[in-house]
Symmetry: C2
Subunit: 236 residues, 2 copies
DNA sequence: TCTGAAAAGTGATTTTTATCAATTTTCCCG
DNA sequence: CGGGAAAATTGATAAAAATCACTTTTCAGA
C-alpha cells in the first residue's frame, strides 16, 4: 500500500513557481562569484524588502522565512501575486527586464534574507551557462503559473479560488510533514483575502463553511488543514 | 505644438508584451542558424497553431497576422491571455520550461507563420549570447505584464477592464496610423469578452454606453475607436 | 494577569455581474 | 440578390460578491 502524495491527485506545480530552486546545485564556482558580496539581514514581520516602481539595486535570496509579492492599487489595497518561500530568489525580473520592480515584496513572518548586488548578479550571469538556463526555465515556468492564475480568476468563484489557494499555501506551510498530517497555515485574513482576490468578509464566511464541512479548523489566525481532498474537489 | 503620443499619457508597455521583438537586430549569423529549417505556412481565420497540453515540436514566428493565446476551462470557455501581433514569437515558453504548451494559440485573422524546429531553437540559444539576453529580458517583461493583468482583474470592474483592453487592442490594430486618426479593431464580441474576462452581453452593453459617450462607433463587428483619452479616464 | 487595540467574525443590504430568453442585424453563399 | 445561419444586441431576472455596520475574540505589552 503506497503512500499517495499530493502530486498524484493535484497538479501543484501548475500553481507554484518553485519547481526547483534557481540556485540549487549551481556550480560552486558560480555560486561563489554570485555571493561574494552578499549581505544578510533579518526582517521582522511586516517589513518591506523592496517597493514596486523602485530601481533595482540587486536581488534577494530567502535564507529562511516567507515573503509576499504584491501590487498596490490606487486605493492602497494589496493584490498578492505570489508567496515566496525559503530558498527562493526575489527581484531578478526587474534587473533582467532593465526596468523597475514590477511588484513589492514584504515579509509574512520573521525572515533572513541575503542581498546580492546587481553587478555580481549580472557578472555571474555572463559567466554561468547553468544560471542562464535555470533562469530561462524558471521564468518560462512562472509564465505558465501566472497564465493559470489569470484564467482561474476569470472562471472560478471566490469559493473555488479560496479552496485552490489553500491547497497552494498548505504546500508552503508544511514543516516536518508526514503523509496525512494536518498543516497549519499562519496567515492573516486580510493577506489571505488579497491573495484570493476578494474581500476579507467573504474569506471568513467561506472558512466558516469549510469548518462545518470538517475540512479545516481555525485557532485564532491559524488555519489547520485536515482534508486536502475535499479542497481539491471544491476547487475542481 | 508637438504631437503627443499614447505613451505620454498611458503606460502601454505595462500592458503589452511587445516592448521590442526578440528577433529584431539579431546578428545575421544567429538568425541564419535559427531559420535554417524554417517552414512557412498561412493559417485561415480560426485555425489553431498549437494546443495547450501538447508537447512542443518547435517555436513559431508571426510573419503577418494576429494570434490569440488562450486557455480553455472545463466547460470549453476560452480565457484569452494575450493577443500577439506581426513580428512576435510564439511557443518558446514550453520549450524553455521543458514542459508542455501552457496555452493554446489560434489565429484571429488570416496569418502567415513560420515554424522553427525545437532543435534549431535550442542550438541557436547555445551559441547566441544575444538571443539569450533577449529572451531573459522578454520573459521578465512578460512577468510584469501578467502581474499587472492579474491585479487589474482583481481590482477593476468589467467596464474599466473593457476600456483598458480596448486601449491595448487599439495599439495592435493600428495600420498606417497618424496622430488623431481613429483605429479600427476587428474582433468578434466573444473573443473580446474572453479577453476582458466577462460575458458577451456585458461587453455589448458597455460598448453601447461608450458609443453614446462618443468614444467609439461600431460597424458590424468592427469597433472604431475615436477617443482614447476618455478610455484612459474610464480605465483608471 | 489585565487591558485595549487589532484582528476575526457575523448579519443585512446594495451593487455588480452572470444567466436566460428573446429579437435584430450582418454577411456569407449559392 | 435573396435566404438563412451566425453574430450582435437588448431586456429581464437570478446569482454572486462587495460593502457597510457592528460584535466578538485574540494577543502583545504594560
Amino acid at each position: 500500500m503506497g503512500t499517495m502524495s499530493l502530486k498524484d491527485i493535484f497538479p501543484i506545480d501548475k500553481w507554484d513557481f518553485k519547481s526547483e530552486s534557481v540556485l540549487a546545485d549551481l556550480p560552486l564556482e558560480d555560486l561563489e562569484l554570485l555571493t561574494a558580496n552578499k549581505v544578510e539581514r533579518t526582517y521582522k514581520k511586516g517589513e518591506i524588502i523592496f517597493w514596486e516602481g523602485a530601481y533595482p539595486a540587486g536581488i534577494f535570496y530567502i535564507i529562511s522565512g516567507k515573503v509576499k509579492k504584491y501590487k498596490l492599487d490606487k486605493d492602497g489595497r494589496e493584490r498578492i501575486i505570489y508567496v515566496a518561500n525559503t530558498g527562493e530568489l526575489l527581484g531578478y525580473h526587474a534587473i533582467l527586464s532593465e526596468d523597475r520592480y514590477p511588484d513589492s515584496a514584504g515579509v509574512l513572518e520573521e525572515s533572513t534574507i541575503a542581498f546580492i548586488p546587481k553587478e555580481d548578479f549580472l557578472h555571474t550571469l555572463q559567466h554561468s551557462e547553468v544560471l542562464n538556463r535555470r533562469l530561462l526555465k524558471t521564468l518560462s515556468h512562472e509564465f505558465a503559473v501566472l497564465a493559470n492564475s489569470l484564467s482561474m480568476f476569470a472562471q472560478k468563484s471566490v469559493r473555488q479560488r479560496l479552496a485552490l489557494q489553500l491547497i497552494v499555501l498548505r504546500e508552503k506551510y508544511k514543516v516536518n510533514f508526514q503523509a496525512g498530517m494536518p498543516v497549519e497555515i499562519n496567515m492573516g485574513r486580510d493577506d489571505l483575502a488579497n491573495f484570493v482576490g476578494t474581500a476579507r468578509e467573504n474569506v471568513v464566511r467561506i472558512l466558516t463553511e469549510f469548518k462545518e464541512a470538517k475540512i479545516l479548523e481555525t485557532k485564532g489566525r491559524k488555519i489547520i488543514i485536515y482534508d486536502v481532498r475535499k479542497l481539491i474537489i471544491i476547487a475542481d
